[in-house]
């Protein structure tokens, strides 16, 4: 059954990466590629599924596996909740050697009962992991029995780590929502509006969703569900009655967007709230689609007015930093749309982007990046090996690196300013306010007086 699911998500027709592949490569799927023993990085499918579903804040997330899968990982991300905190608690069957010998189904059943009795969640998400998958625990069956006997939805998330990468896990999480959650309840018929939207693949990391919601509120656009940022279980069950889907972080949950279009006729578009132009484009796309779906046509003019006002306000707030950032050199080491979406703001600051990494970027992303880099193909790079990155930074080829946590210490040990723009970041960078925040953080990082202190050699090592 899981095999069929895997084949299904590998064959995603709307996935640009998949479409670009040869027939032979398509057969290989997206799971195994890139996982070279001794040189692999990143999480497993379970990790990806958990990342995608954990932001559902009012349910219990129960991990069926040995201690590593939850004990090493719970409460480790910054997805924010505006209310319930149950999602931050760690629940696991903590399988022991005896459980492995005798099978873990009974323990799982008991664990589900305990969690419901103690914490009374609207639903329980049960995550399958490698060890119980290997010994043949039938998590789907246990969940079905539990749902029936205990009277609340107990949802199996069948994405054991060894089936593939984090990205695959994201997609399997999406399949879980489609199979068990979305469309399982109906909203009050009087409470359906043409301006209801879902945000698919938005996880409200460090509360960045809330940098956007004031704009939506002003336009009268309602987020029916974040899928899954700050989501309540009930919102997800009725979100098939939204008018428009916006797909953020396209690689992760495209299957959800496409299948919701297929099943319920909800149009979707891919967009992003990183960068000023992206934010404006996304707002325009939402407005246009809502109008197509029956919203009052003045929404478009009101959106344009809001964009004009917010863009101007945003640039006004960014400009004071320009003098302090002008001429500074940036190494942009991220991927996907971020390859280019923050470049224009950096250019506006008068900063020079010395390199931008185009890992995980589509051809469209690459073209946009190349255009912004004045056609300089050398500035577009794939992965930079850590020693080379260290050398570049140590020798001052960049004044600051924007990247993810994985390369943080390459920059810091090279005594170079660094800013986290990936998922573990502490500050929110979405929308217009987010871009102002990013520029401010960059200013604070690169102009911190610490750099002179830490770069100076010890007095006894200074040249005579």
């Amino acid at each position: 059954m899981l095999k069929d699911k895997l084949a299904d998500v590998f064959n995603e027709p709307d996935c640009a990466t998949n479409q670009a592949k040869s027939a032979a490569d398509k057969k290989k799927g997206c799971a195994i590629k890139g996982l070279q023993p001794g040189a692999a990085a990143g999480g497993c499918a379970f990790d990806g599924a958990k990342i995608a579903l954990q932001p559902v804040v009012d349910v219990a997330h129960l991990v069926h596996g040995p201690i590593a899968c939850e004990g090493n990982a719970w409460d480790n991300r910054h997805a924010a909740s505006s209310g319930p905190q149950l999602y931050r608690m760690g629940f696991t069957t903590d399988l022991t050697e005896l459980d492995v010998i005798h099978g873990g189904e009974k323990k799982l059943w008991k664990a589900i009962k305990e969690v419901i009795a103690k914490y009374n969640p609207p639903a329980v998400f049960v995550y399958q992991t490698c060890v119980p998958a290997l010994i043949g625990d039938d998590v789907k069956k246990v969940c079905a029995v539990a749902t029936e006997k205990l009277g609340i939805p107990v949802i199996p998330v069948d994405a054991p780590g060894f089936v593939g990468s984090k990205n695959l896990g994201n997609k399997l999480a999406g399949e879980t929502l489609l199979d068990y959650v979305i469309g399982t309840a109906e909203p009050d018929p009087d409470d359906i509006r043409p301006t209801d939207i879902n945000l698919i693949g938005e996880y409200n990391l460090v509360g960045e969703l809330w940098q956007i919601t004031p704009l939506f509120d002003e336009l009268g656009i309602r987020i029916r569900a974040g899928i899954t940022g700050d989501a309540r279980y009930r919102d997800l069950t009725i979100c098939h009655r939204a008018s428009v889907n916006m797909l953020l972080c396209g690689q992760a949950m495209i299957n959800v967007a496409r299948k919701m279009q297929e099943r319920w006729g909800i149009p979707y578009f891919e967009g992003s709230f990183y960068g000023i132009e992206d934010t404006s484009a996304a707002l325009r796309a939402i407005a246009a689609l809502c109008v197509q779906r029956g919203a009052a046509p003045d929404l478009i003019a009101r959106t344009d007015a809001l964009i004009a006002r917010e863009e101007a306000r945003c640039w006004d707030r960014i400009r004071p930093h320009a003098d302090r950032l002008k001429g500074r050199k940036v190494l942009l080491y991220t991927g996907g749309h971020k390859t280019w979406s923050v470049v224009s703001a950096l250019h506006e600051m008068g900063m020079e982007v010395v390199r931008t990494s185009v890992r995980k970027a589509t051809e469209t992303d690459k073209a946009k990046a190349l255009d912004l880099m004045d056609g300089n193909e050398d500035a577009l790079v794939q992965a930079i090996p850590n020693p080379e990155m260290y050398r570049m930074l140590r020798e001052g080829e960049a004044d600051i690196m924007l990247s993810g946590g994985r390369t943080q210490f390459v920059a810091l040990k090279a005594r170079t300013a660094w800013l986290d723009i990936n998922q573990e970041r502490l500050y929110a960078y979405a929308g217009y306010d987010g871009m102002v925040e990013l520029v401010k953080r960059m200013d604070l990082a690169v102009n911190n007086p610490v750099w002179a202190q830490v770069r100076a050699p010890a007095p006894w090592e200074a040249a005579p």
Partner: protein
């Protein structure tokens, strides 16, 4: 009085106290010089452990994975192990690769150890790389146990069985996972005060102590070298710190004949005294004046602090090696321990000065901690702390929401003195807040400056 050890039959562990055994093994390997730990499992096994260690140490954590998938798990993963070893040897150029298995590979029952020789023999690029294997299924024990298994494996792999002439000025310290890099540095300093050079295994003080190397390095930055391992047989004695080091110590003594002394983590006056007595006997030298003075300072700290500990209730959760000295410290200052939780059932738990010790999770701690004055556990206690409105004092791994924990010293007289004061100040601070309330100065923080 012996503590009753309770093992509740819960099916769902809620808010785990435990980290995994392979994580512990990998951390022990990171205390070896120029080492690259390798998890034999799915890539997630490595990623989760790596992320948690990065958040705790705020350092790059060079761990790798054999990237097992469903098919290789069923068919057997030795070719993944081989490929990983060759790739790592070429890319990171380590002196040592430390392999730890995971629940995934142990469920199938793959025995990697015996095959390593064959792998090394047919891959000449592995000739100069030490390779060691520790069997650490995720479903048995936690961080402390995995760490101990790795230390045992290192001894079996790299300590020769041929006896060496004894160097009277050299001792071996087998360090439990309960010790921070700062603790290890302090132990080494204390040993030096007796004229003893300490070889520490594993030695996080050289690798995860947060320093800035002069060049890029893709392996651990420092730690115990294989040359050090070869010299352990020359030590005058082995100090095994923490009960989890008993098994490694037995193996080391059997191989080298060097006599072992088991010590508790030397936090608290009595435990620190036991360390000093041991060093005095091994070295045959008197206790140096500065240590005598430090002991006197620690006694003074206990005197000044006991007012604030007396009658307090403390909820404590930690792995056994850390639990015991902390429990004794609080009990020895007149605080009660109404709820004590640990990760695994070991004989030492009965020695905890409390009515009972629960082998459980942070839910057990939280349920017992209502009305307590202080929570003492690792950073994951933060949710219970905010729900209960009880302050949290962070001990153990992980401490991901505070920085500098790798340098925190809790051992010896100085470590004890500083920790006793620090916690007394937490009690004082909450008393200040209570008085503010009583005096109806609510909302005003001017009283405390």
């Amino acid at each position: 009085m012996n503590a009753a050890v309770l093992t509740p039959r819960k099916a769902a562990s809620v808010n785990p106290l435990k980290s995994s055994a392979p994580l512990g093994a990998a951390m022990a390997y990171l205390g070896m010089a120029e080492c690259q730990p390798l998890f034999h499992g799915s890539q997630g096994c490595t990623a989760f452990a790596m992320v948690l260690m990065v958040r705790h140490f705020r350092e790059a954590i060079p761990v790798q994975t054999t990237a097992m998938n469903e098919i290789s798990t069923i068919l057997g993963g030795m070719d993944h192990v081989e490929q990983a070893l060759v790739t790592i040897a070429a890319r990171a150029k380590p002196k040592l690769i430390g392999i730890c298995s995971t629940g995934l590979t142990e469920t199938r029952g793959e025995d990697v150890g015996p095959e390593l020789k064959i792998l090394k023999a047919r891959n000449p690029e592995l000739a100069d790389v030490g390779v060691v294997f520790a069997a650490t299924p995720d479903y048995a024990g936690g961080l402390q146990e995995g760490w101990a298994i790795a230390v045992t494996a290192l001894i079996e792999a790299f300590v020769p069985e041929t006896p060496l002439p004894t160097d009277r000025d050299q001792i071996t310290i087998l360090a439990s996972s309960a010790l921070t890099p700062g603790d290890i540095e302090e132990l080494r300093d204390i040993a030096e005060a007796f004229g003893l050079r300490a070889l520490v295994l594993p030695d996080l003080s050289g690798s995860l102590d947060g320093h800035v190397p002069d060049a890029y390095q893709g392996t651990s930055y420092g730690g115990t070298t294989l040359e050090d391992m070869a010299r352990l047989g020359a030590s005058a004695a082995t100090l095994a710190i923490g009960a989890s080091m008993r098994r490694p110590a037995e193996v080391l003594e059997a191989r080298t004949g060097v006599p072992t002394r088991m010590l508790d983590v030397p936090l608290g006056l009595a435990a620190a005294d036991a360390l000093i007595v041991a060093l005095r006997e091994i070295s045959g030298r008197p206790v140096p004046a500065r240590l005598r003075r430090q002991r006197s300072q620690t006694v003074d700290a206990l005197l000044d602090s006991h007012f604030y500990y007396g009658g307090k209730s403390v909820a404590l959760a930690a792995e056994p090696d850390l639990l015991l000295p902390w429990a004794r410290l609080f009990a020895g200052l007149g605080a009660a321990l109404p709820v004590v939780v640990s990760t695994v059932n070991t004989p030492e738990l009965a020695a905890v000065p409390a009515a009972s010790v629960t082998v459980g999770d942070l839910e057990d701690l939280e349920h017992g901690a209502a009305g307590c004055d202080l929570l003492v556990t690792h950073a994951h206690g933060r949710q219970a702390s905010s729900r209960l409105g009880v302050p949290l004092y962070r001990v153990g791994f992980p401490s991901f929401d505070r920085i500098g924990s790798q340098h925190r010293v809790s051992v010896g007289y100085r470590g004890t003195r500083d920790r006793v004061f620090e916690i007394a100040n937490l009690f004082l601070e909450s008393m200040d807040h209570e008085h503010e309330g009583e005096d109806d100065h609510a909302g005003s923080h001017t009283a405390s400056g």
